[in-house]
Subunit: 323 residues, 2 copies
Amino acid sequence: MANILPTSADVDSAAEQIRGVAHRTPVATSRTVDARTGGHLFFKCENFQRGGAFKFRGAYNALSRLSPDERRRGVVTFSSGNHAQAIALAGQLLGIPRVIVMPTDAPAVKRIATEGYGGEVVLYDRERDDREAIGRRLSAERGLVLIPPYDHPHIIAGQGTAARELFEEVGPLDLLFVPCGGGGLLSGSALAAGAMSPGCRVVGVEPSAGDDATRSFRTRTLQTVHNPKTVADGARTSSLGALTFPLVLEHVADMTTVDDATLLETMFYVWERMKLVVEPTGALGAAAAIHGSIPVAGKRVGVILSGGNVDLTQVAAWLATRS
Amino acid sequence: MANILPTSADVDSAAEQIRGVAHRTPVATSRTVDARTGGHLFFKCENFQRGGAFKFRGAYNALSRLSPDERRRGVVTFSSGNHAQAIALAGQLLGIPRVIVMPTDAPAVKRIATEGYGGEVVLYDRERDDREAIGRRLSAERGLVLIPPYDHPHIIAGQGTAARELFEEVGPLDLLFVPCGGGGLLSGSALAAGAMSPGCRVVGVEPSAGDDATRSFRTRTLQTVHNPKTVADGARTSSLGALTFPLVLEHVADMTTVDDATLLETMFYVWERMKLVVEPTGALGAAAAIHGSIPVAGKRVGVILSGGNVDLTQVAAWLATRS
């Protein structure tokens, strides 16, 4: 299914493929948040997913479908962090060699975790190097299968299983807020929503500094951003992909952005009030639901808390800048 | 049942009394923690309890059993924080006026939450004032029913429902680690264990600086501590009580202590690895299970994560002191 757009049937198939291996993560609710927003919010806790983020779903779905020959040769990927950990972990479980191309400035906790899962880490400089070119070169030189972080049918279908589980558990929703970096989670979620809750408006949420997908959505022309400065390190991707862009255009109802200050306040609010450790990227959907311009009052609202891999050294710095 | 020692039947009764009002909190497990300790650990997540800590169980059990006349007059209590919030919230749900005597140095987040639940806060100075005397005076002057934070049969029985739920969910355990301040949670947990997992060794865990209960347990004579300096603000109580001391002597298998540095490292470890926000007092049991001298390898081990009400200003200060 190389570059064919995945469908909701692929999300169903991915749900079978990862069953019993990925966690079926819990759904959290909060009286405090509901009282504050006037909505009824359901938070899908992918911070409790294996590897600490939703990324394991797509990684395991993709790696477990490789042929015996591909498994022997191994895989290579590039990632700012959570996809790296996910590929490292999924490869460990499946006995597949894996090389991870990571930026030198990735949070230390993510790099350590990736190495902890037995991934071979190759570093690159965000300013100077082209990570995709490095990935392609390693693929060519060593015969490794390239598993990109989002623009891949099995990855997209796997990421959609989080929203699929959410609908299974709480039923139809009016709105679903989903963090957006390269659009894998967002397009997968939209595919799941289309099948399981056809009236649900799926909204992608980006950091303001990296609003390429929002601009792409509005203009219907692929826009890019170069190395945006944002605390949402999982959403610093330069653009949507060849698969995720058309999927977003077709299945996503709206896109919105959140500035870093609001994002950090939301992240800490989720920590303090809901007792859930989420990372900034993981709090994008929550920030839009609580502080955004799309009304949620009176509505049944899903939020994907996409990950919880924070570096406490960074947390200390963020807390120090709070007034 | 004024000052009669509660039994496991009272814990059963409390479980009925709080059903549908208190949360039945989830039980978390962690491959990482199990690999590190060699044990199989089950974490009862009372950080997700209403009010952010186990205290709501005892507070609601006690307040909901008051007579109509007592409910009209209202209640008074003294607490460093979580019991205060719990009484404020339980009183709000039951329409009972409540006065809370809190120390001036209680974490701001706890005082704000208590007032947020509509409790009337009266402050006292930990160094200068006697909070129990203030409580008794307010009780006499205003006809309020005094609900102490731990030394009360309904409070003890209510706190025991957390361990009761844990045994219901995971079955018998070899060990159960329980934070200990005044001993309400510890004695209630030991009562539940005695009925539901008779072979389980219940271990109370204190901060090293406030080791009065450990000394009381070893000497079988009530020992006290004056205003101990520890980050575990929920375990700074001066001694076990008239009810909790005999219960601990009879039903608890062992007591142990954890120093503040280990406690903070464990707290942050639970945040980073398990994505659960716990407060220092709430991490006492986890610290003993992971770093303590009581072997857990090969054992089925329960840990009560007793609360998650942290003040992020304090968190910033703690992070700043990490090497």
